[in-house]
Amino acid sequence: MQVVVSVRRYNPEDRGTPSYWQEYGLEVEENASVLDSLIKIREEVDGSLALRCSCRSAICGSCAMRINGHAKLACNTKLSDVAGEDGKVTVEPAGVMPVVKDLVVDQTMFWDKVRQVSPWLQPEGPEPEAEYLAPNSDMTHLAGVMACIMCGACVSDCTVLEMDENFIGPAALAKAYRFAADPRDAEDRSRLATLSEYSGIWDCTRCFECVEVCPKGVAPMDRIMSLRDRAMERGYDKTYGARHTDAFEESVTHSGRLDELRLPIKTFGFFNLPALMNMAPVGLRALLRGKMPPIFHRSVPGVKKVRQLVKSVKAQQRGE
């Protein structure tokens, strides 16, 4: 099949030359991967093309890059799945991380963030004679997250890291979950305390980009949500994120719908004057335009049934 691979090129040695698109017309096998086409370009057409790859089997995680604007492993993306009707496919380096050359990015930031979450087991008590054992039933929920191959696709497309490099990010947070949720780990409390701080679990926007692009089904965002739940359960519930979730739950379970006016007030606290004053200009503008939720919040009709339902669900969850 005939394809046109449009590659985002960049060479730091060409000082002052910004990145640019270069198109390569190729004849490839029907089942060729994007990586096959890039290797063919490098070996047969243009030896100056830089890319990182190794196993070609979606195991090593080396070839994560943006294909048609989204992070993917080039080795397990078939050209026939991504090439348009005109045979064109675009290939760019992974996002967020600085580009070294062409499709190669500097992953230092990725690895620094993973190290930041202490990605090793920290058990307590005397060392056992053999392995630290855990029942299968306690470990199966970790199988998904342990499938992570550290390719950085989730980091590439994270909407928060794009704005703020201080955010710990999806890959490191998924790794943090892997240990915080391990029954053999004794540091889950301190891990959750640290992760609840600024730039941690509550800074995720829940945008699902990382879930969508992960080639291994790790679903980092789902792990971040689990970390939030665990943090609140362990008493780390004074952050704005936790307070927002609590206030939201209270509103919806009490009246059946969201009380938008009181949600930010309960999140920040009634006496948190700096935070409330910060919101005042936005609120005033909305008020002047008549763009405000009702002052007197109205419950959904038959709200007693909703409250009864909540009661029965929570009773079951408590094991009553």
């Binding site: 829940r206 969508e212 919806v252 335009r289 405000m292 939720p293 909703v306 339902l309 669900v313 079951q316």
Partner: protein, 296 residues
């Protein structure tokens, strides 16, 4: 067509212009709406309730689905976030019969049972799948010919694609562009259209949230858009309400009007700006009106 209508909390709260605009447009399209929240349907949980208690969120959504089933009507919403949360809940309920039975155990106290047949769909998707673009064009009285509009979807109506059934309905992926083109508008494609508006972290990290507003509105402006259109009222709240802060933070004069999807439909159908509630926006929509030669 008759629909079980789920307007969501924000269309009658923080975006009070959205609900009446939707009713007018739906009436013009011949849609008859049976409003579920007037029957006691609850908030979807917006993904926030699910952080703390996903099962309770799924019970709430299954209850809404069961109400729609009882009415024998297709379920329509007008919020990308409602759409996404409903689709994710529906997937969990349909994929696991034991889970569904557990949820139904709670619904039984109200005499409700969810049988797994509901298909929650945003108004945007019903335009594509029920009305069709050729038919939609026949409702256009005031083509938006000179208007350059940038689409902004809202995360939950584009991800995760498996719960949203994009493989079954591939036209959902560019549904907003299709509708905008049918209304005669010029579509301004820009990379931020499927990114996050920042609303979910507004109370947690305002700086990052406002940076997202600045990035997307500036990108749209730099590409020559006269306005952005969104099917998500939460995106509207952030992109419109926090744009003054974004301008301050980025030191850019942005002033990008953020139009709700039903408002864009309404303008093309010949409704007045007042009927569409455009005067309630924080960023003035006058530029939009002058482009389509409608008096403000």
């Amino acid at each position: 067509m008759k629909y079980a209508f789920f307007p969501g909390c924000v269309s009658r709260g923080g975006c009070p212009e959205l609900y009446p605009a939707t009713l007018k447009v739906c009436h013009r399209l011949g849609f008859e709406l049976d409003e579920l929240q007037e029957r006691g349907a609850t908030c979807t949980g917006a993904g926030v309730l699910q952080e703390k208690n996903q099962f309770l969120g799924d019970v709430f959504n299954a209850r809404t689905f069961a109400m729609a089933e009882q009415l024998g009507l297709p379920l329509m919403n007008i919020c990308s976030t409602c759409q996404g949360v409903m689709s994710q809940a529906n997937k969990r309920l349909k994929d696991d019969p034991d889970y569904l039975a557990k949820v139904n155990g709670h619904l039984a106290q109200e005499g409700l049972e969810y049988r797994g047949t509901a298909q929650p769909r945003h108004l945007l998707w019903t335009l594509i799948e029920d009305v069709g673009m050729e038919k939609l064009k026949t409702y256009v009285i005031q083509p938006l010919t000179n208007l350059r509009v940038a689409p902004f979807y809202g995360c939950y109506i584009v991800r995760p694609t498996d719960a949203l059934e994009f493989k079954l309905y591939p036209e959902r992926e560019d549904s907003l562009e299709r509708v905008m083109a049918a209304l005669g508008a010029q579509v301004v494609d820009f990379p931020g259209k499927t990114r996050c508006c920042g609303f979910p972290i507004l109370t947690i990290n305002e700086k990052n949230s406002v940076s997202m507003v600045a990035r997307h509105t500036t990108d749209a402006k730099d590409l020559g858009a006269d306005a952005m259109v969104t099917p998500c009222p939460l995106c509207h709240l952030n992109l419109d309400g926090y744009q003054p802060k974004a301008m301050q933070q980025s030191q850019r004069d942005i002033n990008m009007p953020i139009i709700h999807l039903p408002q864009l439909l309404g303008l093309a159908m010949g409704f007045s700006p007042k009927e569409m509630g455009l005067s309630r926006h924080i960023v003035s929509a006058k530029r939009v009106l002058s482009k389509i030669r409608v008096p403000a």
